[in-house]
Symmetry: C2
Subunit: 343 residues, 2 copies
């Protein structure tokens, strides 16, 4: 939003790998001229930047499901934007697109790498950069394809008030599961209970998690949808029932480094013949239209609850990443890079 005359781009480049928390000192801001699209390409103005917990992980040297962010390059980022100029017949100016637009105001990319969005009346644009995209698909496919739930089973979700977790809770309820959500703080827990309709909540910051789990899951846990890892995951694994399943979606507690699991807790996987399994949402892109289409209906009729927190301007990227890590955000964390109506 700080582009006078809009002739210069604003780009956030990662110049150093953080050891723990991310800081302003790990970035350099550059202001090159606006890029021009070549044949088959489009220029997109970024509107929203998604801040997923895994964004911190991309900054590490080690390869994850994403290649490591190269130092000196524009920081990778999942964005929603509007096409400004096109050299490809499939997109025209004014079209909204999802893509890997990076931490910058404008970008140029092949049209084939972008996903056109047709916003439905009554559904805010920001929803398409949050629940109605990979996060919805991640929640749905992780729970159903890896968790393989049966109605009546008990599901425990960590980071349950988060962007993926809150969807897992609500999809779980619609599948007939008993759903327990673990989140940090009374406000998040109240939202899960009162709005998302979960059967029980645990505030990991203030409750005795083990005691609450024993009270809420006296027969044990059938499915864990795991986003966090660390000591709470040990407690969950130790309470798995025979043939229990741990859907490993993420382990955000380890992304800043230095968290351990108790090997003894993993022994429960043996004793209960249980399964812990990771997945990549990219395996399930063939279900995108079906899943996101259904979620869009639920958003439009108001039955699917979600929270989006928006920080204004690219300058808030570091703050936004920190908020996600400290669990200070409510629901999906977005950075608004520019206004829909600007320019």
């Amino acid at each position: 939003m700080n582009s006078p005359l809009a002739t210069l781009n604003t780009q956030w480049r990662l110049i150093a790998r953080p050891a723990g928390e991310v800081g302003r000192e790990h970035f350099q801001v550059t202001r090159p001229p606006l890029p021009e699209p070549g044949l088959g390409e489009v220029r997109v103005r970024n509107l929203y930047l998604l801040i997923p917990p895994s964004m911190r992980l991309w900054m590490n040297e080690k390869e994850t499901y994403f290649p490591p962010q190269p130092l000196g390059e524009v920081m990778a980022g999942i964005t929603l934007g509007v096409v400004e100029s096109s050299q490809d017949p499939s997109l025209v100016p004014g079209d909204y697109v999802n893509g890997l637009g990076g931490c910058q105001e404008w970008f140029v990319a092949p049209a084939a790498q972008l996903q056109k969005i047709s916003p439905r009346p009554g559904v805010p644009l920001a929803a398409y950069r949050s629940v109605l995209d990979v996060q919805g698909l991640t929640a749905w496919c992780g729970l159903t394809e890896i968790g393989r739930p049966q109605a009546g089973e008990t599901l425990v979700v960590t980071a349950a008030a988060g962007s993926v977790g809150s969807l897992v809770c609500q999809i779980g309820k619609r599948l007939g599961l008993r759903v327990i959500g673990i989140a940090g703080g009374a406000e998040k827990c109240a939202w899960l209970r009162d709005e998302c309709g979960v059967d029980g909540v645990i505030d990991y910051r203030h409750d005795d998690v083990a005691a609450r789990l024993d009270a809420l899951c006296p027969e044990g846990i059938d499915i864990v949808y795991e986003n966090v890892g660390g000591p709470v995951m040990d407690m969950l694994i130790e309470r798995l029932r025979f043939k229990g399943r741990v859907v490993l979606c993420g382990l955000v507690s380890s992304y800043n480094g230095g968290v351990t699991q108790n090997t003894g807790s993993l022994m429960t996987l043996v004793n209960k013949a249980a399964r812990m399994e990771g997945f990549l949402v990219s395996e399930y892109l063939h279900r995108y239209q079906e899943v996101v289409g259904t979620l869009q209906e639920w958003v439009a009729d108001g039955s699917l609850k979600y929270q989006i927190e928006v920080l204004e301007g690219l300058d808030s990227v570091v703050d936004a990443i920190g908020r996600v890590f400290r669990g200070q955000n409510r629901g999906v964390q977005l950075v608004k890079i520019s206004d829909e109506g600007q320019r």
Copy 2:
């Protein structure tokens, strides 16, 4: 072997739960009169006692796949014995049986709880208390049902010279896998390479395990057959290929307490959409005849290699458990409680 006139039994009872290593002070020896079988029961003289790594685990307070050993009771034990007197038509004196005979010279049990063995000529009796029973079934079913191997894939086995591990290595080779065995010490590694025919060995006591894994598995690992846990398991998980599998058979490094995994290494399960799964051999008892029958053929024709180490007398139980824990035994550890021909 110290039963004068054989009118008194000798029983080892657990009287205190060990915090770390097992010692003589955790047991009390009692010498009650010989038990007499009631209707439907038999009296069995124990010949061989199996010392599996998990025996240490039964002594802990926490329930595993076995109920915790009650203090003051005869220590549980997996034995092979000979029927001495029978009050059930299904067994006659002289029959060999496998069962949960405990750490004692004689026991009485319902005939229905025992498994009759018909030793094949040329196959030593001790083999029926080791490879040709649950250990063979554990190796076979863990590898095939949980590992779901495809010919040409790379399998890494920990505790590879152990009773289960060495069978997994050889079954893996017969299934067309590339097999790497990890074991402690040059002698075990040489046996795996020269006798069991594995493709590569790593001596975790003397080799740089990570460097050796990189050299032996440059394309990564498809299947880990895990018996140990701890830091080496972290290294194995970190090298899993896409859709890799960790067959969790046991985590012996944790049985004495206090071992941790790196949560970050578990993140590889997410990044590679990989699976870690435990199992209980009791799920596969329907395959017992098929699997043990095949293994018996391979033992009889000399093509299946195995090692049995026998310590003499019930007094050596503590020593035997310690040897298994320190990895000092070669192959299956048995305690010989009495001679076949005795009495």
